[in-house]
């Protein structure tokens, strides 16, 4: 399973250092916003959640290993606000 360097950001540029979660695994944060980290390939749903586990920011991204991917040139995933229901 290939690992790809990724950087998860919020569309408003905020939330640096906040934890994000992947694919509904709310037991454990998958990383922090703004840091260069690694993800497996394929489709992944990235989310931030509030204290009640309600998703607040979200992106569904297709993580692919493109040429030149590195810690210095990560794939960027941009979270958008989740509309209030």
């Amino acid at each position: 399973m290939q690992q790809v360097y990724t950087k998860v950001l919020r569309s408003d540029g905020g939330g640096i250092g906040d934890p994000y979660y992947v694919a509904g695994n709310y037991q454990q944060a998958a990383g922090t916003i703004g840091a260069v980290q690694m993800s497996e390939t394929g489709q992944l749903k990235f989310e931030t959640i509030d204290a009640n586990n309600i998703p607040t920011w979200r992106a569904v991204a297709n993580i692919c290993n493109s040429p030149g991917n590195s810690a210095a040139a990560p794939m960027t995933v941009t979270l958008q606000p989740v509309p209030m229901v």
């Binding site: 399973m1 290939q2 690992q3 934890p19 992947v22 694919a23 509904g24 695994n25 709310y26 037991q27 454990q28 944060a29 998958a30 990383g31 922090t32 840091a35 980290q37 690694m38 993800s39 497996e40 390939t41 394929g42 489709q43 992944l44 749903k45 959640i49 009640n52 586990n53 309600i54 998703p55 297709n62 993580i63 692919c64 290993n65």
Partner: protein, 481 residues
């Protein structure tokens, strides 16, 4: 009354609700006893092999129990800081017993199980109670384990059991093989969410017996699938569930993501995004447990070694994916930079003469070798592959292999590799296997390097592998005068 011990099929309690923060999950255990080694992941994988595997894995745990490492709370045995043990078959007996009894329970496990003639006791039990002849064969093993090793304890007891203040019990993943798909079936709540079962109600003996149900000799363990239950239907509305709704109903988000496909470039063909076939297959198998076709009302489980002889599947997923907890990949994203991964492989080879004659081997030899040989080859390939794929940010990687193949002396190697697969071995064999498992961990350069990185020193292995091997060594040929 006499059939009280017979429990086929296993009917887990039906889930009241799907909640990622409840039940036998890593997160539940971690909340009780958070990681003390904040920058280190400690994972173990235990193979099958009856009492041979159970004793060798006990030895590996003793090596960690004898290694003191510094933590913010003081110096503690490394065995109290294990994050995960993934196991199959004979290794599952030790894994589950350790999750229940911890470091202080190692001695009683050795006395009450490893040094007992479990095989003889099971046969005697049938002679004294001939109604057991009517039981499914697996129930005789399950009954023995329930009465003599696990004392009727369930997964709930792994959550609530009393522990020392500094002690973390490992999140134990006992693995069986789903006969229908040939895939690994792990006894985790993530897996049981799919069949709408509450794992905390399942007896440890049932899970271990499923993990150790070697085909032909033992019958399969059957688990009732309750998928389609109200808890699953309600799950997408619960933000703590990790479930969503697709065109056919409720589904875990991770399964939906695993099954995501690119736009088909030819009519009728779909390829997974980024060609991640491993995830796609995982999602496809997971989907079958939701029983949308009505073809999986029961799950038939056999020995975990059929799909994965060393229990490597789940550790591999945890090291490369964020979908399941505890994700080592996620830990590395958050600052973990050391990994200790101990693989205990108690595989054996039968003492055969296949290479000495032209006639074909008999059906028993053919069956045994057909099952074992390809899995052993895959095990080594997967471990090599894992070494290449591990996150480069892991500064210290201790991958420790406990395997008879790494015994230098040929005579000693052959002695251990030819020990039979059985639930009874001689007292000397038990002594040797425990000592060997301990010594092979302590003498491993990777183990010593990892312990040094933790700011400690691995104890000297006494007896060493050489000392354990002394009675079995190949005689050195001396030149004729």
């Amino acid at each position: 009354m006499v059939l009280a011990g017979c429990a086929s099929p296993v009917v887990p309690g039906k889930l009241a609700q799907i909640d990622e923060n409840a039940g036998y999950r890593y997160g539940t255990l971690d909340k009780q006893s958070p990681k003390a080694l904040r920058d280190t992941a400690v994972l173990l994988a235990f193979s099958g092999g009856g009492t041979r595997a159970a004793a060798l894995t006990e030895g590996a745990l003793r090596a960690l129990a004898d290694t003191q490492v510094p933590t913010p709370a003081g110096s503690v045995p490394l065995a109290t800081q294990i994050d995960v043990i993934s196991s199959v078959s004979g290794g599952s007996v030790t894994a589950a017993a350790f999750a229940l009894g911890g470091t202080s329970g190692l001695g009683s496990y050795e006395k009450n199980f490893l040094r007992q003639d479990a095989q003889g006791s099971m046969i005697t039990g049938v002679i004294l109670n001939p109604t057991k002849l009517a039981w499914p064969r697996i129930d005789i093993l399950r009954d023995y384990l329930d009465d003599n090793v696990f004392n009727h304890k369930t997964y709930q007891d792994l959550i609530t059991i009393d522990k020392l203040p500094y002690e973390r019990r490992p999140y134990v993943i006992l693995n069986a093989t789903d006969m229908a798909s040939g895939s690994v079936f792990s006894f985790t709540q993530d897996q049981f969410d799919l069949i709408c079962g509450d794992l905390t109600t399942v007896k440890l003996a049932d899970a271990v017996a499923a993990s150790a149900a070697f085909p032909v000799a033992l019958s399969a363990v059957t688990i009732q699938n309750q998928a389609g239950c109200p808890a699953q239907q309600a799950a997408p509305a619960n933000p703590r569930s990790g479930w969503e709704t697709d065109a056919r109903g409720a589904v875990p988000s991770r399964v939906a993501e695993d099954r995501a496909v690119e736009q088909p470039d030819q009519a009728g063909i779909e390829y997974p995004i980024a060609r991640n076939f491993d995830r796609f297959h995982r999602g496809t198998v997971a989907l079958t447990y939701l029983n949308r076709e009505g073809q999986k009302n029961y799950v038939q489980l056999l020995d975990g070694g059929l799909a994965d002889n060393v229990g490597l599947t789940m550790p591999y997923i945890l090291m490369t994916s964020a979908e399941f907890a505890p994700s080592v990949q996620s830990w590395v994203n958050l600052g973990v930079n050391k990994l200790l991964f101990i693989v205990v492989n108690a595989r054996n080879e039968t003492d055969n003469d296949f290479g000495t004659h032209a006639s074909s081997p008999g059906i028993v030899d053919t069956l045994e070798n057909t099952i074992n040989t390809p899995i052993d080859a895959t095990t080594f390939q997967l471990i090599d592959h894992l070494g290449d794929e591990l996150d480069p940010r892991l500064k210290t990687k201790g991958i420790v292999m406990v395997d008879f193949d790494f015994i230098r002396d040929a005579g000693c190697r052959v002695h251990f590799i030819h020990l039979v697969t059985s639930w009874a071995l001689s007292q000397q064999d038990i002594t040797d296997l425990i000592a060997l498992g301990r010594a092979m961990v302590l003498q491993s350069p990777d183990y010593q390097k990892l312990v040094t990185a933790l700011g400690a020193t691995a104890p000297v292995a006494i007896p060493s592998v050489d000392q354990i091997c002394a009675p079995y060594k190949t005689p050195v040929k001396t030149a004729a005068p």
